[in-house]
């Protein structure tokens, strides 16, 4: 009995000891703690003292997070201000938010932080992220350092952390609806194919003529990224030739024997040339490069061999994942002791991430780059922390919590496309009630109405227009099941001029007068 009692006592003491060893390594004495919610995103600011391994420091810690696995309309996206061609470029996270809003009308940024580390050289590589970068399924950057991990975000709300793997280049051909027609393996870059069944791509950093009898499909590039080793390009069909060509600026050329004789790439298609990514990142819509893994399975790291000054106190930014699927960001201010912002080393940062219940966490770029912003009541954005530069730094990219659902990615359709394309809607007009009307299209499920480029859904052939005075270009396409039938092309454009209400009423008076003027 005595033995059993002693054993239980020993067990209790050992459990308490282990528990203390984890908890005792950091103590956070909170002076103030404020929490609020903005559009489902939690923001917590803690001001207090952090004690870690016998060292006490003053800290201001900001946290924002949301459960993106639970709510379809809360998602994580990345943003940047990269130039389309010739160089990379940087921007503040506020500018990145603008970029997101411009690219994706379906998202409203609620808040976010700075992203990856980046190239600061005074060359056209300034701003190039050190890790990979995936924007809306496009592998824009594949990592200067191939071992750099990524934080990736899938449409189902899952978050993927890890080191991606790359296996050569791929040419992806999408139809006008964004459905994948075909994936073609790219043998190599800026070189001729070695066999008749091989395809290569030349980018505009290749100055010599491409001298061969191969087919050459010239792509008018929407975006190109290259550093001489890694390449990315996207764009639309420009022309095809067999004669020798020199790659013009902001184009790239796909080369292959008889390539595109089958009409694979048409002038309505969109093509992407990128490194083929794998190891769990195949279906990732957005991804940003991260650096050190500072929390693994809920355990904070206590020693790092690499990393940027892991043992020194700096402003820091980190991304974490909770067991319930919540993704959160933390920014700890630093380099500002007079304001009680001592900064943290990576081990302290890891402790803080565990404090916020991270089961997995990585640090992002820090120092003067550390910035966190959140939507305010005036629909603008507040910088929540105190950037150590005294101003918001232009950085390579950022990672953000947005409100708004993803636009579903169409299923691959294959090539040749066996589906029947629906007829275009015809005979558009606006009736006396101001409703847009058009002839029904056989086999259509619904319709897409484009009003000055803004796409709207219509269940049938009558669509209520609620427009302010102005001039509008309207067109309509019939939507199909995309299995047996595919969406139609857009109809002919219909120009609608909406006058102020008083002018409309004057017109009605005059029409009424006119009707009364005609005689038998």
């Amino acid at each position: 009995m005595k033995k059993i009692t002693s054993f239980i006592l020993l067990l209790i003491i050992s459990i308490m000891w282990v528990g203390q060893s984890v908890q005792a390594s950091m103590r956070l004495t909170i002076t103030t703690r404020e929490t609020r919610f903005v559009e489902g995103v939690r923001h917590t600011e803690i001001v207090g003292q952090l004690e870690y391994e016998g060292v006490t420091s003053n800290q201001v810690i900001n946290y924002i997070g949301a459960n993106v696995s639970l709510y379809d309309d809360l998602n994580i996206v990345v943003g940047d201000n990269y130039k389309p061609h010739d160089s990379w470029g940087r921007g503040t996270i506020l500018a990145h938010m603008d970029d997101i809003h411009e690219r994706y009308p379906n998202y409203q940024v609620i808040g976010g932080v700075n992203g990856d580390f980046y190239n600061t050289s005074i060359t056209n590589l300034n701003g190039q992220p050190q890790g990979g970068y995936i924007r809306n399924f496009e592998v824009i950057a594949s990592g200067v350092v191939s071992t750099r991990p990524l934080a990736g975000f899938k449409d189902d709300g899952t978050t993927v952390f890890g080191v991606p793997c790359y296996s050569g280049y791929q040419l992806l051909v999408y139809d006008e609806d964004g459905a994948l027609k075909k994936e073609v393996s790219i043998e190599r870059i800026n070189n001729l194919p070695t066999a008749n069944d091989k395809v290569t791509v030349y980018f505009d950093n290749y100055d010599l003529p491409i001298s061969s009898a191969h087919n050459k499909v010239i792509i008018d590039a929407k975006e190109t990224k290259m550093d001489g080793v890694r390449y990315f390009g996207s764009g639309a069909f420009d022309s095809m030739t067999e004669v020798d060509v020199t790659v013009a600026d902001h184009t790239f050329v796909i080369v292959g024997t008889d390539f595109n004789e089958d009409g694979l790439i048409t002038d309505v298609d969109y093509v992407v040339v990128q490194r083929k990514i794998g190891c769990g990142f195949e279906d990732v819509r957005f991804a940003v490069g991260v650096y050190d893994e500072i929390v693994t399975d809920g355990v904070p790291v206590t020693y790092l061999e690499k990393g940027l000054d892991p043992a020194f106190k700096h402003p820091r930014t980190a991304i974490g994942l909770k067991a319930d699927g919540t993704v959160f960001f933390v920014v700890v201010d630093g380099r500002n002791k007079p304001l009680g912002m001592d900064g943290v080393n990576l081990y302290e940062l890891a402790q803080i991430m565990v404090y916020f219940e991270a089961v997995k966490a990585y640090n992002l770029d820090g120092g003067g780059s550390s910035t966190m912003a959140l939507l305010n009541e005036e629909e603008g954005y507040d910088i929540l922390n105190t950037p150590s530069d005294g101003t918001v730094r232009a950085v390579t990219n950022g990672v953000f919590i947005v409100k708004g659902e993803h636009i579903p990615r169409p299923a691959p359709v294959g090539f040749p496309d066996p589906r029947i394309k629906l007829d275009r809607p015809m005979n558009l007009y606006v009736d006396s009630q101001g409703d847009l009307r058009f002839d029904p299209v056989l086999h259509s499920l619904s319709y897409m109405v484009s009003v000055n480029g803004t796409l709207l859904a219509s269940d049938d052939e009558s669509f209520t227009l609620s427009l302010e005075p102005g001039e509008y270009v309207i067109k309509v396409r019939a939507l199909a099941d995309q299995l047996n039938y595919k969406h139609s092309d857009f109809s002919e454009e219909f120009v609608l001029i909406i006058h102020p209400n008083e002018i409309n009423r004057f017109m009605e008076l005059l029409k009424s007068f006119l009707q009364e003027e005609i005689k038998d």
């Binding site: 005979n427 007009y429 219909f494 008083e502 029409k511 007068f513 009707q515 009364e516 005609i518 038998d520």
Partner: protein, 216 residues
Amino acid sequence: MALKKIAYVILLISLFVFASCQQEEPTIITCADDEILVDGVCEKVVIKTDFEKTFDAMENLDNYTLTVTIQQFATVYEIEMKVDDDKSSFMMDDQTHFYQKNGTQVDHYFPVGEGYRKETVNQSSQGQSFHFFNDLEASWFQEVSGKYFLQADYNDDVALFFQSEFPGSTVSNLELVVGDTHFSQIIFNVTVGEIMYQFSMTITAIGQTDVVLPTL
């Protein structure tokens, strides 16, 4: 003797008959200076000025083109309306609607895609209280330096045209420009609330307007 009596009686009767057939002297009717004899009756002569004659000419006008501009601040809206007997057209923003009288109804041709469709509608029952230039009267105008302005007392009469859509609206500064035979332009302001719209109605192609209905 009896024959002599009979002869006297016959002579007497004949004289009586002749006397009764004799014509009366014609009566001479003399009219006053500002009168004219019409069917033996003197009637007052109405001598109309050229200005007044244009109002007569506007009555029963059934073929003309009316160009209406409505200006609000710097924005000008232009409408071209054509009337060709039983057909009319209304064009604004490069879109033309056509109307054709069809008994008590009106066939309305409206643009659809590249072509037209037809619907039959009841003829407008707006029934404006004021039928615009058909209802203007010459006596309402005052000539100032060769220009004809609607006297302020009659602004409300013209404003009736707008009351169905804009109750309480007012009309002001109506100027009538006349050509050789017809009105050529009507210019006026309509005030709705605090906003003033400047109207200009120009009448052209009288008797020369051709409305061709679209083929369906």
